[in-house]
Symmetry: C2
Subunit: 272 residues, 2 copies
Amino acid sequence: MKRTVFFVSDRTGITAEMLGQSLISQFDDLAPERQSLPFIDSVEKAEAAVATINLAGRAEGQRPLVFSTLVADDTRAILQRANALVLDFFQVFISPLETELGLKSSHTAGRSHGMQRASDYNRRIDAVNYALSHDDGVSNRGLDDADVILVGISRSGKTPTSLYLALQCGIRCANYPLIPEDLDKMRLPGKLHHYRGKVWGLTIRPDRLHQIRSERRPDSDYASLGNCRREVMSAETLMQTHGVAYFDSTNRSIEELATVILQQAGLERHLF
Amino acid sequence: MKRTVFFVSDRTGITAEMLGQSLISQFDDLAPERQSLPFIDSVEKAEAAVATINLAGRAEGQRPLVFSTLVADDTRAILQRANALVLDFFQVFISPLETELGLKSSHTAGRSHGMQRASDYNRRIDAVNYALSHDDGVSNRGLDDADVILVGISRSGKTPTSLYLALQCGIRCANYPLIPEDLDKMRLPGKLHHYRGKVWGLTIRPDRLHQIRSERRPDSDYASLGNCRREVMSAETLMQTHGVAYFDSTNRSIEELATVILQQAGLERHLF
């Protein structure tokens, strides 16, 4: 049974997609076509969007679902005329907020995911550059500036988590691999013992690690289940010895890892 | 006037924060304290969250604002008892969806930003690795596998955009700098002329480029306004000559750049 879901927004549509997707995922049997209609910032574009939505509805013989984060009154009024279930995020929430706050909202488009103040933008780019220049232990300099330092064995999830913390949270994150030599000597790499208050570890289930490493280097000792088991066990012992709290990346998404690290470190996500 | 805004979620709280932030940004004079309460996945944690919210309300002498994406009925019922304006995202939208679809929702927590199917996860990690190994023209191999190839002069925004496309959209994106030699010879770097269908350009306003480059290398020829003007003009001419459509990163956020590129390239954002 085909039914298209539209995400309509005056800017990127990211909030609308996230919102809609989290609701749709509550219905197990629903696997709809998704279509994003971003940058709907004029009456003409809103009318074109309605035409697109109505066309899909006629072709499929049932009303499309529409998740909208449109803010401007004129475009929202047009979208409401679509022959669809239009879930208007702004309409539902802005009125109780205005009442509670005793303020009128500005009804101005593009406040989310638009161009922010230069200081926000610089913070984000700075964090990305920091993560790239401190990825995989490439630099021992500038660790005083790190908000978070991640350690873990190869393929435990350090790089994606560091990049996510930088790009999506504005957090300066360095990451260091725990290499076999560190594991043999039961030591933290480089000068990390000076920074223990901001060092966090990642670990992973050996069978999952074996699977990931095998994709990169099949049939290697590096990827063998035995070696993965030994490395994971040594790394966890090392982290325990040095008082480094660690999180298992096996069943956590990058977002979940980032959130637990921020929570434990007492840091707030910077929204962009 | 202090008033705390809480983002309550059974998982990461990212949707709640994004949602709440986009509503709050509609009120110009509101600069509230923000506090995220993620992983509220039990009755006990929901009760603790209510205590935290009520405490803030008493300290500030007015009701906090609460944006909730809780899904489970028991935790939602507890949160509703907080002495706050509780905006319950799930409650508002799920009922019209159930009616429209003729289905009952699963009311299961953690469907967003949680661990996805392994294929989704692999796609994401693969895209991140691809972006890192094809950043700044470091490799000419594997370009057949690219979804998008970005070109632009130094500091026009290629790396953050590539990483964003990888991490947040699952898109394999390579990026190549347009260096002075390319500009002199009016040529695309490397073998990019073979891939023109998926090459997109970034440009930037010379004064903004001057500002950004000056932070890295103050008083250099590289950063001088004259050189920035020349490079931008040459690069735009080069891209026009080779039929490469380009976007101005000066007043666009990373999200907006990614969205216009996806839209022009006919690619869908992969949600994680």
